[in-house]
Amino acid sequence: MLGYLTKRALWAIPTLVFVSFISFVIIQLPPGDYITAYAAQLRHGGEYLTEAQEAAMRQQYGLNDPILVQYWRWISNILLRGDFGHSLEWNAPVSSLIWERLGLTLAISTLSMVFTWIIAIPVGVYAATRQYSLFDYLFTIFGFLGKGIPDFLLALILMWLGFTWLNMDVGGLLSPRYESAPWTFDKVLNLLSHLWIPVVVLATGGAAGLIRVMRANMLDEMGKPYVETAYAQGLSERQVVWGYPVRVALNPFISTVGWALPALFSGDVITAVVLNLPTTGPLLLQALKMQDMYLAGSFILILSVFTVVGTLVSDVLLAWSDPRIRYA
């Protein structure tokens, strides 16, 4: 087990180097660079940069250097000094921009993932053990609706409901008056009153799909002979269902825990934009639009680290839960 972990951890290193390089290159692939985008933005506002000014800025930011040199400068700073570089657009260190939002992103993501599982697993198991019952059909309808309605639409509907019926101020994660206030009980309450919309939106979409997955897995597993053996041992239906087929049916869930991490970090950008959430998604979108390559590159690097680490976590969890993987 320890050898397996070490091997996996070591393999993560070349993977990350490769991914970070590719992502750095891809960000630079579109014609023009940050200065072009910046100049275009200025022109939009009625100002303009002269050729000389543009050239000076390129010189200043080192944009004229070969891509390998730029990459090396960026990555060596990260590795040696933990410095993710400077966001050209925000004129601020990348790390301060990202870490600030990372906490909230992780909070929302984790919360919605926990909710997704709390909904999806019992409902999936119920739907499978009572296949073709009234509730199975109801959950199926819910599943297809949840999967079919785009997240941002659901977010808009909930915001509208919250605003018109519950008289809440919606959007964002905090009411304006709390934004720079110190953390107090009231502030936490305020946060929670905003948090439910993104959590419901994200959990509905996720749960809808996972219910179907869980139901299908359970139906597969419950037809297998070991389930009959468990019944023949004299165990009750509840003991059999939760102790045997659920254990096996959870495998696909466990093996995708890892993907949840990066997906939640970058994903649901549209929902975050609609809800005006100070999470990482909208920031990444903006950075890519402006070719703010240090910010975007750092994002993608963190994302890849999450993916690699997440996959590792999944594999470890899977090995822990399934002896066939542990001893294979």
């Binding site: 023949a232 041992q233 165990l235």
Partner: protein
């Protein structure tokens, strides 16, 4: 046939009376078990022989009340005597009720055909046995563990103390079937139902498992219902034999009577289709013509008549034969039972 209501004789362990199990399918109603009666005495081995689809396994699952949800328990009575002087009518208990669950695993153990998939892949052998022991014997973890080790030793698995930590995928087919047997016998059941326990194994392993079952039976004294499609296996292990065809018992009797004095043409035909030691040399083994009929359209009259060499038109194809009794507790469901011409078997 009316259901017999007299109390079971004292040596009786299990008695099935006119049991019917139907399956409601989209294509129609399948009468998988259509009036089966058999009995098992304490400590005896009953072999049940029949082709695929004859209802052997379904009958066994009816005893355990393990039928699938679309099964209709359409009648009949199943009685069981978990201990002397006590009688339980299994067929009248609620399907998943506490009493049935106490019987399962506690008084009736079951071994399944596929040792590869019949054990939980995510629990160690020890955990699976211990869970049953703790459930029925209400003992602690340590006692259950000791019992599991003792059982694995009984089924002759090597290094039982290590074996309880193993998972099914780490064992060979024969070892898994031994573990399965240990699981089924974990609470000293009075009855063991073995549903084709050796069908999925190779011949050498099959012989070893049969030997093991025989020695365990001698040691622990449980009765066995041994389901198989292999007459050779039956001859090896059983005291009595029941031959099933299309949801009915065609013939039942002691092993010797079935092998040497079969009264049903189907039993005869089956015996003629397998080679025997000391048999007069023949060019070819006989086969039974035709196929097992489609269960949705079971033939009228005697279900075997379309394939029977002795079928009498106008009788066998219209009237369901009654059971004819013969000395030595042998019975056959055939219009011609006892009147068949002598034939070299």
């Amino acid at each position: 046939m009316s259901v017999n209501t007299t109390p079971m004789p004292p040596e009786r362990l299990l008695e099935l009376d006119d049991v019917h199990v139907h399956f409601s399918m989209r294509e129609g109603l399948v009468r998988a078990v259509n009036g089966v009666s058999y009995h098992v005495d304490r400590g005896k081995v009953l072999g049940i022989v029949g082709e695929s689809g004859s209802g052997k396994s379904v009958t066994a699952r009816a005893i355990m009340r393990l039928l699938s949800k679309n099964a209709i328990e359409a009648g009949g009575r199943i009685r069981f005597r978990p201990e002397p002087g006590k009688e339980v009518e299994i067929s009248s208990l609620p399907r998943d009720g506490r009493q049935v669950r106490e019987l399962r695993g506690g008084h009736i153990g079951m071994i399944f055909q596929e040792p590869m998939t019949a054990l939980s892949p995510v629990h160690s052998i020890g955990t699976q046995i211990m869970r049953t022991v703790m459930l029925h014997r209400r003992v602690g973890k340590e006692a259950a563990r000791a019992r599991a080790i003792e059982l694995l030793e009984k089924v002759q698995l090597p290094k039982p103390t290590e074996m309880i930590e193993r998972y099914p995928h780490q064992l060979s087919g024969g070892m898994r079937q031994r573990a399965m047997i240990a699981l089924a016998l974990s609470c000293d059941p009075a009855l063991l139902i073995a549903d084709e326990p050796t069908t999925a194994l190779d011949v050498t392993t099959e012989a070893q498992i049969l030997e093991l079952l025989k020695s365990l039976q001698a040691e622990m004294g449980m009765a066995i219902v041994f389901i198989t499609h292999n007459f050779g296996v039956v001859a090896d292990i059983a005291d009595r034999v029941a031959v099933m065809y299309l949801g009915r018992i065609a013939e039942t009797g002691s092993v010797d009577d079935i092998f040497y004095k079969p009264k049903h043409p189907y039993t005869r035909a089956l015996l003629q289709s397998i080679p025997r030691l000391g048999q007069a040399p023949v060019r070819r083994l006989k086969t039974i013509p035709g196929m097992v009929p489609d269960p949705f359209n079971a033939p009228a009259g005697c279900a075997f008549h379309p394939r029977c060499a002795y079928a009498v038109p106008g009788r066998c194809d219209t009237l369901v034969p009654e059971v004819s009794l013969f000395p030595g507790d042998q019975s056959a469901r055939c219009h011609l039972a006892g009147k068949l011409p002598e034939e070299v078997l």
